[in-house]
Subunit: 357 residues, 4 copies
């Protein structure tokens, strides 16, 4: 029997999914355009599952509470929007190094600075190259529908615990604010299992668990890094996710993530109506990035147009994937402006089709 | 008449250069391995030039004091080491967007997390790809000697004011702690000139100056971004700096920045003694990155070995420069371990020379 | 059937009593000599009753979390020691003005400043005269045994809710650290009742609840104050608590609170052995202070010696009670030094008995 | 030759006096009704005397910057209004214990909590009984005119250095906002003298200076307290200041501090017109309080009416002074309401004159 569909706002759907996923604690601080996450959880979560929902003093406090709570082996999370996520960079680096699971949601707005409260995608670099210091990676899921805002929550928690790593859901203000029909999962019980590594008091039958990101001896610290890098290699092997639409016969590929990928599908449709064979490649995991799939695709197409709501960030990874085999062009809008399908088609013709004819 | 040479520790030499550059204010918070900067300035600066030196409550406070003070058109700065710089990411994004000049010094340690107090280079991504949110760039100078720790201070301030942009000096703990002979510049007077854009009280003969990073209208915000991007294109055209050593006849190129470049020169020397023709390419500005120079070099060599004290960060820019023309290999050490010349030579032989024979 | 006695440390006994009282949330920050409260709750509370136990970023954050959580009508609390309590003064004033119930525990150390981690009583003024700004009062219970550390917890919560006011348990480091036999109460269930004034979401059948300490109109704000003062008059009428030992026939009265009262009882015993008729008066509520009882006592005795572990604070209230009827002398020790019974007897003889003979 | 009079707002006159007193640094955070102090200093101070003026992250940060800067032997200060002063209580206790000079200005508003931005006097207890923890005292000057807002600044600094103690100027929002004619003093040069105890770097000819408020050994800490108490006894002997108006032949005394004392003078005038002989007693130093002068006065009058803009705070000190010799009544207004002369006269007749007839 199929479950009923509900019409929900992206941020609220995500918050509902957090409760349904049996999340144990949320620590956050309000910021547009994602404040609904905290608000929804404040009203709903504690009374339904006993989940702790706390508005901390700041984003710095929030991420450090996530760090502390994650050490107990619980499902914990925070959410914010671009400037708030910047304030969390030190904490994220600590959590990654301490190898703790947690979920971080970034509902991006247009930057830099205070910027605008309209949507943006200009935190791609921050998310996948390492906004914080040191060599670490954030396993990153980029939803493009409200349904994925729901589905990726439990997936994110599972990946976080599988790899003991922070996982980011990188959305944007438009996704957070738009309403779509979603199918919600069943309520998961909050788990009572305590992972072997959790610091919840030493028992007699095991050694003391220690969670730290500090190792003063450089050789010990290098080993910590080698372990991290080995984990990242495993993630890169196992967890690459992407979606290809009409790429089999395509001459040109639009590459985009998140909401922009949906606009690109519309643009591809318009292109095919004009006789230009266009496909859409959508990375779902931004890290690990689907380098290989894109590289293969490069053998059979004439060129790529990468489209983002920023000044050109993911395009570097597209170039690293294609590595000179075919031209990689870029079109971006900034400041919270969302590109239209017509505009994308126009840029495709201008930058690639025209050029290559 | 040549000036006397002085034997100085990197951090202290930099701090001395700050005073000599006529810097107006320093705001910071102590962290190993750069605390000498704050300590030296505390003891020396105020009494010699009247410069304000203030230990703030935290790195978050420090960078926001820099933001406020930079708005007055003064020469202002902060310094820290990796985790402290992570805490500044929100503030840096604000300053970049508000188009204010300032100097930020990162004397990197091994990360991620608290990591180790030994040197590292794992903040490359954070520095040049945007550790903070939004599309902005940090003009970045990477010294490889204590003399450059001195020389880059005034250069950084000049670039910061020329382009109204934050400038980063990206050093590392080894450079900060090592002693070398330096030649110090003359004392510059603290300027009394007030830039036209500074917010120091409206005078009757001009409009009100406004410094902000917020523009709620997306089209206004997109224009802010277009201005920023135009500025970055100018910087990329005018300010690329790099150093090539023995690259003319080289078959292999070692690419490295900062201290590691010096070790690579020693490795190249060892290689030439064995008959392998090796040159060294050192980016001095990490942003703007010398893509073009490296791309040209790719036409005449057999391959590149990029060497860093991290898990592989600048190597992405090297690949973006070379774009598949020639193999680009990587060797990195982490956790504060400094690679030796012999080790680098060995890796070169293993990964490139052997391969290509 | 009598319940078993348990040997417990003061701080841990108090923490256990907090759980047994059905407390809903604790927010705090570690400081000697009361860190056991947070530690004990962290280990025991959540798993036994689901109570939220959170180490906040600072004492400022802790008290403001108490403020927010108290608004939901839950049993919430914080604890700290002297310097930490000073950091809470703004928040306490807000909670008192907003008329919210909560428990604050101060396990005093010797001050001022960082002082010493040894016990003290020098926060009497801060507690009862108003450490924060504005006209408000903290209903204050001063335990003198570990058993009272236990018993006063539930009493405090009951008083807090009865009068919608913050209640302070003012202990000291010696009480917190000493072990004594205690009888623990039964576990109270955490209540699900929501007080009518709680801000937990407006329901259709009532007006919006508003909790605030701000009223820009001075006449509205004066009314807020008049309500507060009326409440304080009721508290002063109903809630005065004190203990008199051997005061009926006494010529001299030792006045002391907390632990010092027990030492005074020993001193009184020594005095009676020497033929000096001494009683002990122990205020249990420091606010409301037992002015009337002391004033009555003044009719039948020759003088009072007030003994405190400070430079003389409660002695002002003793003088205000006695109002010149009989001499009121003071003996105090500072810096964490606990006066001995012999020393007290000696001071009594020196300052009163000798004088008055 | 007499200096010209200027018409100035209280807060600005005080700020101007700060500059003229050769103050070296101001650290603060804006809050109504005293933000003009920070604003005026920001615009004027640095450019005229090179004084450091810094808006810190919070009041907690401000007072700790004062603590640090005071250690260098400079003339340093902060200012705020009631809630902001509450946030400083920990820092004030530290500074008092570390025996450092500084100036703290409290331009009181109506409390408790956020209260109102109208004037109040409800921080009397906080100021003179010890808002912070531990046994310390704030030498407190209470101006009643804008001229005293000016004059007390230099006096406060002199007392602060004479006794190495924090000094408070306790004003209120009405004084801060009202405009009156003032005579300004001459510009004092910022001193270059460094006190022997300042921690500005050890020189070869003396021992290391240590500034701390921590002494783990209780006997050492008790000695610190004994020194403090000895200092306070000296201050109580030397620094009591008060003003008596028409008290010689008075039957009734109005006791009031600050602005209210001026209203009392008007009330006394009205009373004398009706044939009731009324004098006004105004404590200028709230600590040390003029106990002795008031006690003497009690011999010749019929009663006291203490008038405050609070629920009754200084009245406790008046009672401690009079000690039952004569009736002490109280009239107070709260929430920012200023009592009128007629109202005061009415209360005097109702509570004392009528009673005693």
């Amino acid at each position: 029997m199929k479950k009923e569909l509900k019409l929900m706002k992206g941020n609220e759907a995500l918050a509902e999914a957090v409760i349904l996923a049996g999340c144990d604690a949320y620590f956050g601080y309000p910021i547009t355009p994602q404040s609904e996450v905290l608000e929804y959880l404040s009203l709903e979560a504690t009374k339904r599952t006993g989940m702790v929902v706390l508005q901390a003093e700041s984003e710095v406090a929030s991420i450090n509470m996530v760090y502390g709570a994650a050490g107990t082996g619980k499902r914990v999370m925070t959410s914010s929007s671009s400037p708030g996520i910047s304030l969390m960079q030190e904490g994220i680096s600590y959590i990654a190094c301490a190898q703790l699971p947690c979920l971080i949601v970034n509902v991006q707005r247009g930057g830099p600075g205070l910027g605008t409260i309209q949507p943006g995608q200009a935190d791609y670099f921050q998310t996948v190259k390492g906004g914080g210091h040191g060599d670490y990676k954030l396993l990153t899921l980029a939803p493009s529908t409200v349904q994925e805002m729901v589905d990726f929550v439990d997936t994110a928690f599972q990946l976080a615990f599988k790899y003991r790593t922070p996982v980011m859901i990188l959305a944007d203000g438009a996704l957070g604010q738009m309403m779509e029909k979603v199918q919600l999962p069943d309520q998961k019980e909050r788990t009572k299992e305590i992972p072997a590594w959790a610091t919840v008091g030493k028992t007699k039958d095991r050694e003391r668990n220690i969670i730290t990101s500090l190792s003063l001896d450089p050789h010990v610290m290098e080993n910590v890094n080698l372990q991290l890098q080995e984990k990242y290699r495993t993630i890169e092997k196992n967890e690459v996710r992407y979606e290809m639409t009409d790429c089999e016969d395509a001459d040109y590929i639009l590459v985009a993530f998140g909401l922009v990928a949906r606009i690109c599908q519309k643009a591809a449709h318009l292109a095919r109506e004009k006789g230009i064979k266009v496909g859409v490649f959508r990375p779902i995991t931004l890290y690990p990035f689907p380098y290989e799939a894109l590289n293969k695709l490069a053998d059979n197409v004439k060129g790529f147009l990468d489209v983002e709501m920023n000044a050109g960030q993911m395009v570097e990874d597209v170039k690293l994937a294609v590595l000179g085999k075919k031209p990689v062009e870029f079109h971006g809008r900034m400041g919270g402006v969302i590109p239209s399908p017509e505009e994308i088609l126009h840029k495709l013709e201008e930058k690639l089709v025209g050029e290559l004819v």
